[in-house]
């Protein structure tokens, strides 16, 4: 058995046939035959993954750079970003020690860099979720190469974002007071009407669900790394790889869990930035008090997030030689998302102006006139130039093909989106109702240092991630590669089999027959064959989820969705009940003259808790049901190669009429690379 054995390379054929128009082999395939928008662009004719034809190559390409150890460039990069992080840490420490006065805020402008950075980073984070969840639901195959790093980016961006609401507090050491826990102050609960509290729950849920989603997706790749490693490294990785063995049953649950988490994360991503936007939209400040804010913020977040993903990907593919995985096709698709969202953002800017005019409110009208022509009008100029005008260049294919041009545009978008938040927050606050209270704002060095530090934190975390974890979701990319190969070879689909009931366990003889294949096609054929012959299939171990394997194995559909439903329902009802009880029964407090039991105010937190519990429940059910658990890595839990490039089928001979040779024939008929028999231990 040799990993070097490969089927004939079929790049030319793949070039001719692969496309995004159908997705037969995708892990997330829900219903065959769903069509996707036809992409008329010639980019669509290119294969998604170029120059890679086997699962083993994916493993090698992704794992080897990590195993080789860091390069000089990485050291330089981490030193730069860690320095920035240290500067930021020093600034934060100084600010916490001395006071928020070390920021340039004043009695009129109570938020500026802090919340600008917060909204900016939350927005950056959105692309990760969008790519991993929304595109998964939409079966966009091109997401597989970038979703891992995009999700990682989400996590780090949300970490950066979460930092700002924490340190922007006058007394950050009391930050835990924003959580409703039983306490000796009454117990005094929290104000469930405050959008800032909704933020706490939204961001918290977002971080947790994103982390869970990311980690669940990472487990199979960690298993690959574990199986390539040895010594302490193996032990450490094995701990997190949760005894993953690539079993067909686990893959099925894993896919279902991913799908459910994606389904949960998709409304979450919409809700998070909607909630963030209510910080402003529910306020009285002219220029904030705008109903268009939730969609405006969400689309702005997608826009800035995609720009940030692209910025990072363009660097990473170059530095880490991942051009074959992150191809022009990916870049082109993302450029289109950017130009699309940019146009929506531009439309939102226009709607804001229109509504300000149409509202007839002089305060609104002034707020926008002031935004554009007032003392801080230059920030508005930057915002429009970077967010609306510059991305329009991406209509041109030549620009879409030019990596430097795209890189420059995405950088400008990041700048522009930062300024968008700054414009909304600062220009609105600085001149609101009473001219006597108007005041300007200038950032201090501490604030600039803190902003720098947040970038330091982000890039440091990202560099560490690049260095120690697979940047590319190997399992999912393997599936895409396999499918490209499958399409290139022109294999026809086997029709779904009639499910044959499994023989009773009492008839088993205890000898396991193991066959190793180099591709999913052979495995699938062998599975079908074996079942027709009445062989008992113990399990199949694959390096990526194989489409149709579940059906071929005759497995029942996973019951994870039920768990999700129950957990979500519990989260929703407990949250609603608790908010109602705390606000109107336990200690009713008059807040702004509002009714104690106003249900609409309780909706955001109830939603977030529903998602949180559903997501955690789903992940927990996956882990418990599939018996995933931390391990020391001292034994091999997966058949050799099953986490990298080998497709392993384990059978049990239960029909006495079948001889050992018959099983051998089965293996050779379907092109098994290797086979053996082992006694059940």
């Amino acid at each position: 058995m040799s990993a070097d054995q490969r089927p004939p390379a079929g790049i030319a054929a793949a070039t001719a046939q692969a496309g995004a128009t159908s997705a037969p082999g995708l892990p997330s395939d829900l219903s065959a035959g769903a069509t996707l928008p036809r992409d008329l662009d010639a980019e669509a004719q290119l294969p998604l993954i170029q120059g890679v034809t086997t699962p083993g190559e994916v493993t090698r390409d992704v794992c080897e750079p990590i195993e080789r150890g860091p390069t000089k460039l990485w050291y330089i990069a981490i030193m730069v970003s860690a320095s920035a992080l240290l500067i930021g840490a020093a600034c934060v420490a100084y600010q916490v020690a001395v006071g928020i006065g070390t920021w340039g805020l004043n009695r009129t402008v109570g938020w500026a860099f802090d919340i600008t950075n917060f909204v900016f980073w939350v927005g950056i984070g959105h692309a990760g979720t969008l790519i991993s969840a929304v595109l998964l639901l939409l079966r966009q195959r091109w997401r597989t190469s970038i979703n891992r790093s995009a999700e990682a980016m989400t996590l780090f961006a949300v970490m950066c974002a979460g930092l700002f609401p924490l340190i922007h507090m006058g007394r950050p050491w009391l930050a835990h007071w924003v959580f409703p826990y039983p306490n000796l102050r009454g117990p005094l609960w929290v104000n469930f009407r405050s959008p800032l509290l909704w933020d706490v729950f939204a961001i918290g849920t977002y971080f947790i669900i994103s982390a869970v989603f990311w980690y669940i997706g990472l487990v199979p790749d960690l298993a690959t790394m574990r199986d390539r490693a040895s010594g302490l490294r193996r032990k450490v990785i094995a701990f997190f790889a949760l005894r993953w063995n690539g079993s067909g049953r686990t893959w099925a649950r894993w896919e279902m869990a991913c799908l459910l988490l994606a389904a949960l994360a998709t409304p979450l991503v919409v809700s998070v930035h909607s909630v963030v936007s209510t910080d402003f939209a529910t306020a009285t400040v002219p220029g904030w008090h705008t109903t268009v804010f939730p969609p405006y913020f969400v689309i702005g977040a997608v826009f800035s997030g995609f720009a940030m993903v692209l910025t990072l990907m363009l660097v990473a593919r170059r530095v880490m030689r991942l051009e074959g995985y992150i191809t022009h096709k990916h870049i082109g698709a993302m450029c289109k998302v950017i130009v699309f969202t940019s146009s929506i953002v531009g439309m939102a800017y226009g709607i804001e102006l229109f509504i300000a005019w149409y509202s007839g409110s002089p305060y609104e009208q002034f707020a926008f006139a002031n935004r554009i022509f007032g003392p801080m009008g230059w920030t508005y100029g930057i915002m429009v130039a970077c967010n609306v005008l510059t991305p329009q260049l991406l209509w041109f294919k030549r620009i879409r093909k030019s990596i430097p041009a795209i890189f420059a545009i995405t950088l400008l978008i990041n700048v522009g989106m930062w300024f968008e938040r700054f414009v909304i927050i600062v220009s609105s606050l600085s001149r609101d109702y009473l001219p006597s209270a108007w005041a300007s704002y200038t950032p201090t060095l501490i604030e600039l240092g803190t902003l720098l530090g947040s970038f330091g934190l982000f890039f440091t975390a990202f560099l560490i991630f690049c260095r120690f974890l697979p940047m590319i979701a190997m399992a999912e990319v393997r599936a895409v590669v396999a499918e490209q190969q499958h399409d290139a070879h022109g294999h026809a689909h086997a029709s779904p089999e009639v499910i044959v009931p499994e023989p009773a366990p009492a008839e088993r003889c205890g000898l396991r027959q193991v066959g190793v294949f180099d591709g999913p096609d052979g495995l699938l054929a062998a599975v079908r064959d074996a079942r027709q012959r009445g062989l008992h299939i113990i399990d199949a171990f694959t390096p990526h989820p194989v489409h149709g394997l579940d059906d071929a194995l005759g497995r029942r559909r996973s019951r994870l969705p039920f768990v999700t439903l129950v957990c979500g329902a519990i989260g929703l009802s407990v949250a609603l009940w608790f908010q109602y009880w705390a606000s109107s029964t336990d200690w009713p407090i008059d807040v702004g003259g509002k009714p104690f039991d106003s249900l609409p105010a309780f909706v955001p937190i109830a939603f977030e808790l529903m998602v949180l519990l559903a997501g955690l429940g789903t992940a927990a059910a996956l882990i418990i049901r599939s018996r995933l658990r931390p391990d020391t890595g001292s034994t091999n839990v997966a058949p050799p190669g099953a986490t990298s490039d080998r497709f392993v089928l384990v059978l049990e001979r239960v029909d006495a009429s079948l001889s050992q040779d018959d099983v051998g024939q089965l293996w050779s008929r379907h092109g098994a690379l290797d086979s053996w028999t082992e006694h059940e231990s």
Binding site: G101, G110, G170, P172, R185, A437
Partner: protein, 1021 residues
Amino acid sequence: MTTSRETTWFRSPEERGAGAPRATPEFPCPAPAAAGVDRRAFLRLVGFSFAAASVSACSRGPAQTALTHTGTPEDMLAGKAYWIASTSWADGSGGGVLVRCRDGRPVKLEGNPEHPLNRGGLTASTQASLLSLYDDQRIDGPLLDGQPVSWDALDQAVMQHLDAITAAGGTVRLLSSTLTGPSTRAWIDRFVAAAPGRAQVVYDALSCSAQLDAYEAAYGVRALPRHDLAAAKLLAVFDADPLGTWISPAEYARDYASARKPDGPQADMSRHWQFEARMSLTGTRADRRVRVAPSETAPALAQLAAALAAHAGVPLPGPAPADDALRPELRAALGELADELWQRRRDGLVLCGSNDRDAQLITCWINELLGNQGRTWHLDSPSHQRQGDDRAVEALRQELQAGDVDLLITAGCNPAYDLPGMAEAIATAGAHVSLAGLADETSALASMICPEPHELERWDDAEPRAGLFCTSQPTLPPLRDTRSLRASLARWMGDARDDRELLKAHWREQLDARRPDHELPFEIWFNQVLERGFVQLPAAPVQQPGAFSDATLGQALGAVAAAAATDPAAGSDELRVLLYPKVGLLDGRGAHNPWLQELPDPVTKTTWDNHADLSPATAQRLGLSDGDMIRLSCTDDPSLPALELPVLTQPGQADDVVAVALGYGRAGTDRFTNIGPEWIEAEATVQPGDTIGVNAAPWLSFRDGAFATDTRRASVAATGARREAACTQDHHSLAVPEHLAPKRGAVRDAVHLVALPDLHATGAHGAGESHGGDVELWADDHKPRGHHWGLAIDLTACTGCSACVIGCQAENNVPVVGRDEVRRHREMSWLRIDRYYADKGDGDVDVVHQPLMCQHCGHAPCETVCPVLATMHSNEGLNTQVYNRCVGTRYCANNCPYKTRRFNWFEYGKPDRMQNMALNPDVTIRSRGIMEKCSMCVQRIQEAKADAKRRGEPLADGDIQTACQQSCPSNAIVFGDISDPHSEVSRLASAPRAYTVLEELNLKPGVRYLADVRNTEGAKG
């Protein structure tokens, strides 16, 4: 247990209405039963007694001999406030104050409502003087040649000097500010009479010497008439700031407000003309304001006199000004004024603040001609508040320079700072005794320092108006080893009685005989006076004023005409310099008081600095903008030090005039270098060794027997440097910048300004339409229970004097943050006074003031957004801020449309400062990182409620006064229960003039404003 009470306590009406009422004991935790004290209760009690014992042991006992204003010393309990009546000269007016003391120390000054002078009002300067009591830089005790000595040693030194001088026939001069106390004056007289060669010289830093001279020349009596602004139906003010700084602002403000009541069909609101060169506080309130250059004041008065003479049909006893001496607009305005004055003769009042004898003589004649004497101004009960004689001071200066003074005693004044050339002159005195309590420019020149106690530490009396005798008692044992002027003089004349004995002896010997009620023994009567703080006695027989001397007026008119002819033409490169006192800081006596330094000037809204105020047109002509540093060099006396000041453009100021505030540049003000928070980007309030602002007093000129503030001329040169003003208000108009203004709503609707005829014609007073809808999204189920506290603020009465700002600061422990923080818009005041200009074209502006504090909205936007419930609504309608819950997100401040919330950006408290003794123990000191704001003086509400409960009486309207209301000299602020239809605040809130700010936001504020009504012509159709 507490269940013996019959009252059933309930939390909500629903709960009460429910079938089985859940009785909640008043005290949720059971009180320790008498029979068995358990371990926890025992520990609690022990802990409490220990803490209580420590606390009471730490506090200072009250001054043993003081008599409280309310109640007897037996009532003094630890933690319970008591009041002592006193008298304050901090603003130079001798108003009556009630000193609120807690645990043996004064914590707040309030106006004495019974006092005939200020009737409860108190200026910012007076209220802030509390902080000066606790100034940690006060002189510790007697100093001889800079070395601390005992009083005996110092007295010996002084007496040796006195004896030697008496023996040698030398001269002794006692230089003081106006001292009205009868006992002090008696001792001064004795001291002066004790030996030949001794004399007293009196001066006022804010001099009215020319006015006194004028009355002396006209009537043969050197006296300052009492101006009755309450009786004046027409007030014409020339270059004076009676509502801000002139003579007796608290008294004038109350009178002025009482004459300007616009409500009711028969409203007889007084009309106010103001002629002035710079925008004074009084000018901001004028119905008609005319800009006149300083050189035009006297000719304008002469012109007015001529016009009135024509009305009266009497000959003008001197030359009338030439027709071309005045600008045509000014002539026309004066003509109108003359008509109105003539119509309102006997009810008008013309005031002139210029320290120019000629102008004062003409003013006096006009009032005489109009028959105002005895009606709006009174010479029979003259004011004693200004007695300075500038001529005598100038003579003393020359005497000093000639080396003719062997001993100079300075008391209650700072001539080395206040008077031009005096520092050099004093340095030549043979010997110099200073009685300064705080080291100043003058005491620095003295070899012997006998520090006087602070006003709040001493026995004293005063007679600010003839026949009105006021007293002061110590409110705490002296903090330093000090002795009053009276006691020092007595000691040097061999009388070793203590201060109280001296005072009492004087009253027994001199004043006891004048009281009408002789039934009471003296002791009891005297104690009653002390308790009350003042007594009205028949005035001592004074010289009756003679008939007006027309001859002197003739001379004055001649001089004015001559001066007008020789005045250099306008338009030359020189600017006329006008020196003026600022509200709060006045002549600089409060320069060591951080509250006053940080009090925004009511007109310019600047703090911590003086500026070169220029009219916008002049600034434009000179190519200068706000913050440019300029150097003013005196052209008529090149020996004067140049003044380097930042430019501040001031709308409404006369062109070609540069106005500079006095009172700055005091030595030692670099003590405030680090008054603000210290952090890496912080800028010092003042550089070490430097002073706050610059001293403009050397630019006073001695003219015609008085120190004039407006004769100097200066050339202007930009230095190229810049110095941004620490201004609390960036934008100065209710109109938004023109290029950003929407079609409707170019003017913000915050202040309603309406002409009296328009108000009566239409009842409308708003600038914009009301957007207040009656559609509510949810039921209003939070009706306040019991009380609903609210404020009503009458903008017609408000003068913008900022007394409330300091009142609030003192009451609520509002920290001082320093120049840099103010510049960064982080001032902490809970109550600000917004000042807006409305451009009238031609460089003239209307000015409105609007005190703005937390509006205690029923639908408070701040409350909704706080994540931790740190701000919420009380069931009495208050928007409360719970400091210890606050985590400091500042969301509430962002969401406050009034921007009245204040955030503690740093830890402002400095535990090691003696000034902390001025902190109000009833109000929490806020730590860093939390939000604070106006609480409607909730501590006063609670105290009054507890008192009423103890008395078993319901709380009456007026039992509670907020600090701002209490100190308001013009009664513009009224606090009370809005839910009580008979309360004063309800009456005002339902007045036709009432409105709420930003009504269209439907925030249901608890603060109502009453439109600012001006007695102007109105819209004219």
